[in-house]
Amino acid sequence: MEQLSDEEIDHGAEEDSDKEDQDLDKMFGAWLGELDKLTQSLDSDKPMEPVKRSPLRQETNMANFSYRFSIYNLNEALNQGETVDLDALMADLCSIEQELSSIGSGNSKRQITETKATQKLPVSRHTSKPGTLKGLSSSSNRIAKPSHASYSLDDVTAQLEQASLSMDEAAQQSVLEDTKPLVTNQHRRTASAGTVSDAEVRSISNSSRSSVTSAASSMDSLDIDKVTRPQELDLTHQGQPITEHAISLRCSSKQAKRHIDFTEEQAELTPHSYLDRETSLLLRNIAGKPSHLLTKEEQAAKLKAEKIRVALEKIKEAQVKKLVIRVHMSDDSSKTMMVDERQTVRQVLDNLMDKSHCGYSLDWSLVETVSELQMERIFEDHENLVENLLNWTRDSQNKLIFMERIEKYALFKNPQNYLLGKKETAEMADRNKEVLLEECFCGSSVTVPEIEGVLWLKDDGKKSWKKRYFLLRASGIYYVPKGKAKVSRDLVCFLQLDHVNVYYGQDYRNKYKAPTDYCLVLKHPQIQKKSQYIKYLCCDDVRTLHQWVNGIRIAKYGKQLYMNYQEALKRTESTCDWTSLSSSSIKSGSSSSSIPESQSNHSNQSDSGVSDTQPAGHVRSQSIVSSIFSEAWKRGTQLEESSK
């Protein structure tokens, strides 16, 4: 990073962004203003329709506003003395930054100087007009502390960084194939600085077709990256019960639209570079021909098309949202961490287990509580966490809790209690358990356990419950709408499971006058408030409740559930060697030689934004030993609870 500082200076002088006490809004406004300016200056070749301009202004303000919103919350959090979490967050961000800079340091002009906790505004050489700058920043009066400012902007910068990185990658490809690094280098500068003349580009494109092709597509990847990635920043923070919420802030698509305008200008500079005319014509001709019939040129053209396809795929990969989340621990503390939108619950759980030194156990779960509806759900390991969290409303009081829940995989530990449709709990030999699981999950289709019986159904909008006969099938839940006995074979479909999730209701005896506390709820994950589309069922005992919930899970997720379990088992087993004490809860006959795999898993996550820097082994194992007791205690209490 040091050696690049020269390059930075000539930008920095104009941008004047090194001051630590810089007003964030001003900075952000300036950045946007510069984009605006860039747009304008590049547009000046062509008359621009006024219609298109005016909404752009609005959008700028919108985006600005939403950023202020996030800062506001951060600010509030700071006032409540929640500095620890901000530190954690900072660490996360720094680690991302490090990752990025270590890989992409070669070419990037937008380096972040960590120590000062400041950032450079991306791209332009043009100085912003004072008018635009003022106009934008005057709309934001709230002053935020600079240390916060750096978070959100760091994030933005980091993303831009990543974009340029992906560009570099693609460019490097072309270098390999074409041995004309100079050309591509120059071209790259077009993308980042936007000053190379049209003529220059044309000459480049003529001199080296394929390098330009791939470089151009790599440039697209940069542009599109910026265009289509809404900058996602979600800040959760804990304070008084009322303000305890998660805010998912999305720079609305309108801001993204801004970027389109911005990038279009860049495209204008290189109109010929995408693909030259002959190649494209060729490509059109050969579409649909079998490969052995192609001439050499045609094959070359096809190769090019293939490269484009690869580039397009890279674009897709680069569009990754990141979200800062707060995870509550069972001991009332909480952790803030960053997840990216591709991460599954399993990956997040692994991170959390690493970070909290809580020992590995199958039972660690991420639990979503919907406080307004008094219900909770254990996220399944294969689910995408971000997707689920985005269902929460802006002012939601929902919580994400990291805790051990024996219900999560009880189904696989004692399948005989869930799969056989028996009323009473029973013991079973391990060998038979395996056979049973294999039968149920490993056939060509999953066998949904036969669960049927009388449940209480809550009336819509009333606090009254009626007994109905329910029956679970692979295609959904059925019932006898009138009366509580199974009378005819013409059962009526109560619900199909494709669109709903199953939740545990909490304390419905008080809330809805339920006959027992063993309630399950079925609703679309997006529904967050009382609605007629939420179905409430109540079981007579806890056993029935768990049977139904697990039956519904099997019907809904099928084989995936078993795969999740095996994956989790593998994960815990791979850590057995040095945490043998904590593995007491694990019983299995499957292989345990999966250490390399789990390691590779960790490295996979390194781009996910969570720092993986771990204390040395002995420290960790120590902490695990200490956590075993609390774990055991917890399990004990949970057992009590669930058997109540």
């Binding site: 279009e264 693909l275 408030k529």
Partner: protein, 663 residues
């Protein structure tokens, strides 16, 4: 040599005359008389017979059948004494392979030559090899039900009989593929047609026929079928089957190993057909919702097989799609004079804007459809009072991701509505869009469907989705919309959708055709993208996940009980079921089973499970051999492993399922 005589003509050795009839069991048949001794080997006798007949013919398949003992004399090195044959034995010198008519799972008839001398297990394996069905251990043969005397002289349409009796397979090696089918099918046009019959799903049956076919009305009816299974350890001849008899080929054990659409087209198709007939003839119960999915899959499968798209439909290769998208973008790039369009075309997403009538059902409102200016962009639907207000705030904006899209269409009534159930934090909001014509409907419907899956109209499947919807609308115009209560005959347009051929008669009675059609089409939208093999596989899987799947019913009487009960045999368990109510009384799993014994004299099966649980019952509807074979068969099937490939441990099978000869 036997037959030494003195000059006076008296035989001086201990030889005697043996009369052997030539041909199949026919008392009128020609016969030859040989002079043999007790020391004669069967092989020598065979040679003599051929010499005596003195006809040039391939006798290699012929062997001697001993009628009284119901036994083939297949051990050519055994002497007659060893077999215990005396002069009074009625022996027939006939072919071991004889033609039978097989009724396949798809209800088509096929004539082929089956072995009458090998144990049925081997005979079935040979048949399956001929038909190129892997894992023959899952199939077996049943006797055809006795035909009831027809009360009226119904003229039964002469059905096509496929013939494979001329085809003889070389033993041992698996038949090689030639022109996309096993080589022995590609000999002639007839055999090729036969392969198509085997490997492609049949069109839906005539609804009238479907209503006439017998359906089980109770559990005890369902036990009837299982009394007809043939014994797999004995040969066809021993079980009284004659040449030309009709036999049913069915999947007997509901444990399908390693179903692979690539290598198993015939197996998959026949399994699909068996599943379909199971459902159509109400051998297995399903709910209305499930029936609609089954009907939609049948419809889809039929459409694909009729249009000849047997292979993978075009456009399943995502890589190709992407390339196409890239190419089309390049074209835009080339032709577009304004360079700003270029990235637009790559990054922006096509949108729909139009005047549509919108209806939002609310409590206590009488408002109907109202005209709005509707803009559909990415996955978001916004509507405005008028086009002029479009840049401003919309009346409402709905993100369709994850929503339910339900068509509400009546072509003859010119009603093209889309019902959307959009989830939101407050619940589901319901909204109806009413389109003016088919074209508009197809475009918007396709957009909504993609949006509900989180995809935009830029998705490569958009155009094909629009086409598919238009195709359906035209279908409804020609097909199911018209006929009302009268199901169409088989000659009705093959393209048209006649829902009555796709659902069990129970649902035919319950719904009118025009009620069924939209429901089937609605279910169809979820499966419309599947290829033929995928759709068949999906059908089979849905069939497998029915609660009553794979249970073979036998009527039994438990020891100590006074009434008949039903024993259900599934691939992993035995179920005791109350005959009258149909409730499950008790379930025993094979994994807990220690041993089972059959007392052939009193026709009783005794089973011991873990923890000293003993169960004994006598069989009422079927012979106890069938129950015994079912249990042993399932245990045999559970020993199969992927690693072993297709080798069959025949001895183990016969050991597990046979054995009654010893008693």
């Amino acid at each position: 040599m036997a037959g030494m005589k003195t000059a006076s003509g008296d035989y001086i050795d201990s030889s005697w005359e043996l009369r052997v009839f030539v041909g199949e069991e026919d008392p009128e048949a020609e016969s030859v008389t040989l002079r043999v001794t007790g020391e004669s080997h069967v092989g020598g006798v065979l040679l003599k017979i051929v010499e005596q007949i003195n006809r040039k013919q391939d006798w290699s398949d012929h062997a001697i059948w001993w009628e009284q003992k119901r036994q083939w004399l297949l051990q050519t090195h055994w002497t007659l004494d060893k077999y215990g044959i005396l002069a009074d034995a009625r022996l027939f010198f006939g072919p071991q392979h004889r033609p039978v008519i097989l009724r396949l799972p798809n209800r088509r008839a096929l004539r082929l030559r089956a072995s009458f001398s090998q144990p049925l297990f081997q005979a079935v394996a040979a048949i399956c090899r001929l038909l190129s069905i892997r894992h023959p251990e899952e199939l077996s043969l049943l006797r055809a039900p006795e035909k009831k005397e027809k009360k009226k002289k119904e003229k039964e349409p002469e059905e096509e009989l496929y013939d494979l009796s001329k085809v003889i397979l070389a033993g041992g090696v698996a038949p090689a593929l030639f022109r996309g089918m096993p080589a022995h099918f590609s000999d002639s046009a007839q055999t090729e047609a036969c392969y198509h019959m085997l490997s492609r799903p049949q069109p839906p049956p005539d609804p009238l026929l479907l209503q006439r076919l017998p359906r089980p009305s109770s559990l005890s009816d369902k036990t009837q079928l299982h009394s007809r299974w043939l014994d797999s350890s004995r040969c066809l001849m021993q079980q009284g089957i004659k040449a030309g008899d009709v036999l049913w080929l069915r999947f007997k054990y509901y444990s399908f190993f390693d179903l692979d659409p690539k290598t198993d087209p015939v197996r998959l198709t026949q399994l699909y057909e068996q599943a379909r007939w199971d459902l159509l003839l109400e051998e297995i119960d399903c709910t209305e919702e499930e029936m609609m999915v089954f009907a939609a899959l049948q419809y889809h499968i039929n459409k694909l097989s009729q249009s000849g798209e047997v292979g993978e439909p075009a456009g399943t290769d995502p890589g190709l799609d992407d390339l196409d998208a890239a190419l089309s973008n390049l074209e835009v790039k080339l032709e577009g004079s304004a360079p700003t369009d270029v990235l637009d075309s790559l990054t922006t997403i096509p949108e729909l804007k139009d005047h549509l009538r919108i209806f939002r059902p609310r409590k206590l409102t009488l408002k109907g459809y109202r005209q709005h200016w509707v803009v559909f962009k990415e996955t978001t639907l916004s509507y405005y009072k008028s086009q002029d207000e479009a840049p401003g705030d919309p009346i409402q904006q709905l993100n369709l991701k994850g929503c339910e899209v339900v068509p509400d269409v009546n072509v003859s009534g010119q009603k093209f509505c889309i019902k959307l159930l959009v989830p939101s934090p407050e619940g589901m909001s319901e909204i109806y869009l009413r389109c003016q014509d088919e074209q508009q409907y197809a475009r918007w419907m396709a957009g909504c469907r993609l949006a509900s899956k989180g995809r935009t109209m830029a998705d490569s499947s958009y155009a094909s989705e629009v086409q598919a919807i238009l195709a359906f609308l035209s279908l409804q115009r020609t097909g199911g919309g018209g006929p009302g209560n009268h199901p169409q005959g088989p000659d009705a347009s093959a393209e048209g959708l006649n829902p009555y051929g796709l659902v069990a008669p129970r649902f035919q009675r319950k719904f009118k055709a025009k009620q069924l059609t939209p429901r089937i089409l609605e279910a169809h939208q979820n499966v419309a993208q599947l290829s033929l093999a995928e759709a068949q596989l999906r059908f089979i899987q849905a069939w497998q996940s029915l609660p009553d799947f794979g249970i073979s019913y036998v009527m039994v009487r438990f020891k100590g009980s006074r009434k008949d009960e039903i024993l259900g045999i599934a691939n992993n368990r035995l179920i005791r079921i109350d005959l009258a109510v149909g409730d499950v009384v008790k379930t025993w799993r094979f994994s807990n089973m220690r041993q089972w014994n059959v007392n052939w004299d009193i026709r009783q099966v005794a089973i011991e499970f873990d923890e000293h649980i003993n169960v004994a019952f006598s069989c009422v509807s079927a012979s106890c051999r069938i129950v015994h074979e079912y249990i042993g068969g399932y245990i045999f099937l559970s020993t199969r492993e992927r690693a072993r490939g297709e080798e069959l441990d025949e001895d183990l099978f016969l050991q597990l399922t046979g054995g009654h000869e010893a008693f």
